[in-house]
């Protein structure tokens, strides 16, 4: 299977014809559609319907812009040793602009972007990776002399749908972590007049990106999302609730330090800071690198990279509680709490003794009364 194609489509060519000419058999295509139906949570029975819709597509145009980011998301979407949903789908679309993948550079690349936007005005899918730095007039990321914000706003203008891929495009990711020196924000904070879907993660799983695109191509609408704009088919459940180590969690069997006997037995990583209980992501099901493995599968606790602000709130990665305030409060709070509780117990004891002493002293100060004075 080839890498995503940047070859131009013939004007009236349908996807069915194109795949045929590229040597993709009908069987392969149907199989792909069946898998896609499962990924989208529609069941494999939706396959034929997906196949029908996808086959008839004419030159779906995707423009992929990359702002303040590391290209890791592109790598994630491309990773694969064998044909997968990921590159099959990218094969199907006309990736009109992606500066990591395209051959052109410099002015030629920018010209290609302008041309693609004009030719597909109102029809293209805009994929965005990377955050938008807003501080100091947006000077921290410029492409062709223009700020990331300007590039994004222009590209969003004519987009039929906007897919924000990765934690950067979702909320800013590492560059937006405290103190966020470049004023990085996600796409949805800049583009307010159009729905933005957040395929989040650092990076997200490639299959989720392509399945989201396929959903739009098939149904003409973006998939249903949660309150944070993430597609529910992928981010509808916590890692903790799909985790193969969950039996160990429930049984009370935890890895205490990396490489201990419990780690070798594959016990739950809760104790070493697993953020699976607070993280919505399909990692345990989709897995990574063509289903090879995934972090918890490989013995590393989840760091919660699909959740907003995870660099601030999910750190330290190897401890249970967040480092609120940034000086090790998560451990301090238990020490402080225990000290106060012990202090309270000690305090009441001391107070009881003091009360007794005070009582005796006060009583001694009373005038000595005749023996029968108290009787009435």
């Amino acid at each position: 299977m080839s890498l995503p194609s940047l070859e131009a489509w013939a004007a009236e060519e349908t996807l069915g014809q194109r795949l045929q000419s590229k040597g993709v058999s009908r069987r392969e295509f149907l199989e792909f559609c069946g898998k896609l139906g499962i990924v989208l949570g529609l069941g494999s029975a939706a396959g034929p319907r997906l196949a029908q819709a996808l086959q008839a597509l004419k030159r779906p145009s995707v423009i992929w812009i990359q702002l303040q980011e590391c290209t890791g998301c592109v790598e994630s979407v491309l990773r694969s040793a064998e044909p997968t949903i990921g590159n099959l789908l990218l094969e199907m679309v006309s990736l009109d602009y992606s500066h990591t993948l395209m051959a052109a550079a410099g002015h030629h690349a920018e010209a290609a972007l302008q041309q693609a936007m004009k030719a597909n005005q109102g029809k293209y899918i805009l994929v965005v990776t990377g955050s938008v730095p807003l501080a100091d007039g947006g000077i921290y990321t410029t492409i062709g002399g223009r700020t990331a914000k300007a590039v994004l706003e222009e590209a969003a203008e004519g987009a039929a749908a906007i897919v924000a891929v990765g934690a950067c495009a979702h909320w800013g990711s590492v560059q937006a972590a405290r103190p966020n020196p470049t004023g990085a924000v996600g796409v949805a904070e800049v583009i307010k007049d159009k729905p933005v879907i957040n395929v989040t993660g650092c990076p997200p799983i490639g299959d989720v990106v392509t399945a989201t695109l396929a959903h739009f191509l098939t149904f003409g609408a973006l998939p249903a999302t949660d309150s944070d704009g993430r597609p529910l088919f992928a981010y509808g459940k916590r890692i903790h609730d799909q985790c193969p180590r969950r039996a160990h969690f429930d049984a009370g069997q935890y890895v205490e330090v990396f490489d201990d006997e419990n780690a070798r037995k594959g016990w739950c990583l809760y104790h070493v800071g697993c953020k699976g209980p607070a993280t919505f992501s399909p990692c345990p099901i989709f897995q990574w690198n063509g289903g090879t493995s995934w972090p918890i599968g490989a013995g590393h606790p989840c760091i919660g990279c699909t959740e907003r602000n995870f660099w601030d709130t999910m750190t330290p990665f190897y401890d249970r509680l967040p480092d609120v305030g940034g000086f090790g409060v998560e451990r301090t709070v238990d020490i402080l709490g225990a000290a106060l509780a012990i202090g309270a117990a000690a305090g009441v004891t001391a107070h009881a003794v003091a009360t007794g002493i005070h009582q005796v002293r006060e009583r001694r100060k009373l005038p000595v009364l005749p023996p029968d004075a108290g009787k009435e």
Binding site: A251, Q253, R308, R320, V333, V348, H358
Partner: protein, 244 residues
């Protein structure tokens, strides 16, 4: 021992032994008493199980399939939480249905007089002029403040607890009712932190509360502790109380 027998608590005066000159005042009606003890059971269970969930301090060995330790601990935690929430609902209802010592008004020191007495209560506990301490039948201003603060802390615990619990069933009622809390605090880990840290408030409150109850019972000899069992206490007929 002669002298005035006004509403004064004195560390120096030995309270006379009970004679006929006592009367029984009814303070806490049965819903309050039952809720108090259910809350005690709930809070104790929640603290013990909560500390385990926060940092599992012992483990099981062997096959995972033959154990369900964390599962049971979490079940106990959620059950106790349900009991505590139930007591909260009844207590809330009783803020409007209860007697003058149990009503909404009784939660806050509202009048000027109460603030003066608050200072006197503090001085009483610090043993500075203890004989000037005001004498209340129901809760004194210091109690009002601390119990109301505990209600508020319990409220935060319940809300943050449900926010954490709701995550297991996104789309469910609890999730949709509490999913504003995460963003408000800047993420679910912060909710977990708040829920964890406030556990200590209960561990600090309980010994002080128990101690002061025993101390009051000992000094006043009016059956203060018994009042949360029987509902009332015996007070000398000629004592006048601030909130009577």
């Amino acid at each position: 021992m002669s002298g005035t027998r006004e509403a004064k608590l004195s560390l120096a005066h030995k309270v006379p032994p009970p004679t006929g000159a006592y009367r029984w005042v009814y303070l806490w009606e049965w819903p309050i008493r039952i809720m108090h003890w259910l809350a005690v059971a709930g809070i104790l269970t929640l603290v013990v199980t909560g500390l385990y969930i926060g940092r599992p301090y012992f483990m099981t060995g062997g096959e995972a399939s033959s154990h369900f330790l964390m599962g049971r601990v979490r079940f106990a935690h959620f059950t106790a939480a349900a009991v505590l929430v139930m007591t909260g609902i009844v207590r809330g209802y009783w803020l409007f249905m209860g007697n003058r010592y149990e009503r909404l008004r009784a939660l806050f020191p509202l009048r000027r007089r109460d603030w003066v007495n608050l200072v006197r209560m503090v001085k009483f506990y610090l043993m500075i002029r203890p004989e000037r301490a005001p004498h209340y039948l129901g809760h004194n201003p210091l109690q009002q403040l601390s119990y109301t603060a505990l209600y508020a802390i319990t409220g935060v615990m319940v809300l943050s607890g449900f926010a954490l619990y709701g995550q297991s069933d996104p789309g469910g009622f609890i999730y949709s009712a509490t999913n504003w809390i995460g963003p408000l605090l800047g993420g679910m880990p912060n909710v977990r932190f708040v829920h964890h840290a406030l556990t200590w408030a209960f561990l600090i409150f309980v010994p002080i509360h128990v101690y002061l109850a025993i101390r009051a019972d000992h000094l006043e000899r009016t059956g203060v502790i018994s009042s949360i069992v029987s509902g009332g206490r015996f007070v000398p007929v000629d004592h006048h109380f601030v909130d009577e």
